[in-house]
Amino acid sequence: MNPLLEQFVIESRDFLESIASGLLTLEREPGNSEAIDELFRGVHTLKGNSGLFPEYAAFTHMVHAGEDLLDAVRDGRRNFDAEIADHLLECMDIVSAMLDCIEAGNELAPTLCDAGKELAVSLRALREGSLGAAAAPVEAAAPAEEAPEPVAAEDVSVEALGADDVAETKAQDNQTASPDADADGAQSASSTGAGGGDASLPSGGSIQFRYTPEPACFFKGDDPLFTAINAPGLVHLSVLPLQPWPDSDAFDPYECNLTIVGACEATREELEHHFRYVPDQVEMTTMAANSGQAIAADAVHEPDPQSVDTLAGRGLSEEEEVAAGRILRCQYEVLARTNPENSEGVWRSVAFVLRGLASSHGIAHGSIDEALEACLKTDSGDPLARVLDRMAAGTPHGGEAPAPAPRSAVLRARVLNDDELELVDRILASHVHMLDGEPVAAVLLAAASALAGMRRYEGRVDDATAIQALGAAKDAAGLRQVVANWHSGGALPAATLPVATAPAAAKPPATPAARPAPAVTPAAAAAAAVQKTVAAATAAAARPAANAGAAVAERPTAPAGGGLEAIRSELAEAAIDHSANRVLKVSQEKIDRLMDLIGEMVVAKNALPYLAARAEVSTNPREIAREIKNQYGVINRIAEEMQDAIMQVRMLPVGNIFQRFPRLVRDISRKLGKQVELYMEGEDAEADKNIVESLADPLIHIVRNSLDHGLEPPEERRAAGKSDTGIIRITAFQEADRVIIEIGDDGRGIDPARIKAKALERGMIDEARAATMTDHEAVQLVFAAGFSTAEQISDLSGRGVGMDVVRSAIEKAHGSVQLSSELGRGTRIRIALPLSMAVTNVMIIRSAEQMFGVQMDMVVETVRVPAKAIHAIKQQRTTVLRGRIVPLYALNDLLRIPEPPVPNEEGEVAVLVIRLGEQDVGVIVDDFDATLDLILKPLDGVLGELGGYSGTALLGDGSVLMVLNLKELL
């Protein structure tokens, strides 16, 4: 997986957790604006991030719907309620499953995408405040505004991409349809082509802009000159003071006093895009009357070096005249500012502007060049001023535009002039390119829109409609044919023709490519001809375009609806079980500390070669030894600190696993119809990552037990005089070197009588034992293997595994679990776990001349017991310690070593008192030795079967220490 995607998955999982908890918070406190802000931010970022991966458009689409819904909640347009929470939680479940797909390197499963689409519709309906609409068929529920995010799409990513194009072309299409001035039509036809994905078309127009940066623009990071210089298609630029320059005293270099005038050969859209950050500071004026002609004009017109065209009388629009006038006025001003030092520059500049103006208006500029030369020769600005005069005042010039002549005798509702024809040809050429190969639907639609626009411009509306139908039917071949036969007239494949005119589309005899047509025919005549063709055609509709279009829209969006429900419940389960922390998040300080220590270590280690060199030549081994010991002390300290620092890195707050409880409690209590309030405390208590993770499953099991068996339904609670709402309380805290987690409920508690009966029935205890058992001892039986009290096994907690699984999981992590229960008042389970499993504190003992390790956390005390204080009661050796009877076992017996314990000189035996559950037990050994911190490695391979050992560790001298598992041995 690429790193970005990996990061995306990790971060998204984090967001999922915070979103889920945010939703639950909000459900409790609907008015919590901070929670809603944070929730919104999470969903918003999730969506934003997924947008980086267009291949997961279904993901983005669904989360987007969720975001919009939350936005409505944030704005107060919608009230947050359980229904919204349900939907959003479900949304997150689907996201989680999608992330699984992504992480596995797969595409999103189609079932998930479908579930996502369906959910998106419900989410949108919820936003509108009526869920009822969501039940309606998808087509109906997807309003027009959803068009950019099509619901029914065979390939979501392509469609989503294309949708914008479609919207764009639609907008432009509207323009095209309006029978405006010629220039207008030509231009929009051209930009339609560009919108369809072809950038090779040169833009048609010239635009003059005046950019007056706001005085404080520098303080917004604007660089006006830089921006202006980079305007697309810039042909001219002049920078002028906005106000006359003040005295140097009053001059404020931080205040922008400029106005920038430029001319660009670019479309208005391009310029608007370029200046999008400062739209209010830029005025734009379109300069060319016949934008299509503008560029070609120089070539079309015979340059007449002796004349300067006037701008007047060229049929400029009012807007254009104003712009041209402004430009000219500016040039007067500029000319007026010449002085001997800068005259040449000014003249060149003025000539440049005039040339630009002239060429953009399609007039020759030979005389401007001449005037400039004259100025330079005579050292006077007069010649240019005269040219300016002429341009401004206008000497009428005879050069009319060439009379429009039809290029070919084609069917044409309106005659296009040569320039228009050329433009049409260019657009057509670009479409040949666009339609090459197998274009995607969006391109086809865009091409069809553009072509249809051109036909409309020509006044042939029927053709236009038919072409669009081709686009809708995704008929690339048809469109290609349209392009190929453009000039020869209505060479449309007739299957698509009659949408507007005939009730049933029909395939005509494939002919019309060579059909002769009158030179000029009104649109009506064309329509009539088309109708004739249709009438003559066979009735068998080969491929009715309209139907084809409709079929696409009706593409089924979801598989069998029943399957979806199943997926959903699976998802909800998966979401709960799914949050193993694959990534360790560590605070910066912890890492910094490690870095510091490594630095120290590097330095400390450098002392060793130096010492070695000293030792080679030294005559005083004692001194060297001392120095080595000193250095050992330094390195040892660093190593210890590093060990500690690494342990810190692995410490995680237990809150990490608490996070999923609110959701768990919410879902299960709803399912069971119980009212439950969950309190959590001490989420900050930290423990080693492995410990925290090992807690997850047992805790979930315990909480489920509480919900399922512990807490009563409201009626029963009321009858027992309790409030309707049950309470589950989860508390974590650190106690010495253990982290304690308590889970308590105020439910019905465990009935010792029932437990005893059950145990008897299963033969786990005998009558005598049952009679002597205290209630406390009885309830502990729930930890016994295979014990389950639930009369009916519910699907929640009773899957045949009981508390024994919880106990063994906890004990595997060297923890212990205790249970106390009061009938009718509730149950409390207390789990104690070591903070860390990485390093184990071990006491070394000797027995039968061998060394063994015992984990210190089991050791209560070490005592020396005189032999005579050991009594045998029914073959069981015991002793009395501070008034308590402690049973004694000899380690050699437990290990089946046929050696008696060795007492010391005073005749005392060494007894290691360890705690087993609630009871203290003494183990007789030969002697005690040091305690050590060791890294315990579990036995593996065939040795893994050995029950009596919890692992091995390497001692400093390289020997192996077997660490005993006394619980198992006893």
Partner: protein, 122 residues
């Protein structure tokens, strides 16, 4: 001279994505996961040639960050990262001193193009 760009976003994914593009285009990048951290970097003497900041962030959001950043970096271009629906946020950002905005998802040539448009010499 290599141009330095300060990227501010609470989403590590977004940061990584921007960073990948910008590194490839030859920019030096600095990142911060919220406005407060970013502002701290500016106060610490970081002088980026451009700042790209998300709007919706914990601790200190984009708008407030832009406002504060302007007190130390008066002329540096700042672009706000927005989504297509956040027109009002864009205006607000501009009013508080942002130079312009980017619409998420941004990446690749488009991003570089916009940067070249606002950072002279980039």
């Amino acid at each position: 001279m290599m141009k330095t760009i300060l990227l501010v976003d609470d989403s590590a994914t977004m940061l990584m994505s921007l960073r990948q593009t910008l590194d490839m285009a030859g920019f030096k990048t600095e990142t911060a996961s919220d406005g407060a951290i970013a502002f701290g970097k500016l106060q610490g003497g970081l002088k980026p040639d451009l700042i790209i900041t998300d709007i919706n962030m914990p601790n200190m959001g984009g708008i407030e960050f832009i406002k504060k950043a302007r007190t130390v970096l008066r002329f540096t271009p700042i672009l706000a990262l927005t989504t297509e629906s956040q027109q009002t946020k864009r205006d607000e950002a501009k009013q508080n001193g942002a130079t312009g905005w980017l619409v998420k998802p941004v990446g690749g040539p488009d991003l570089v193009k916009v940067i070249k448009q606002v950072v002279p010499g980039a």
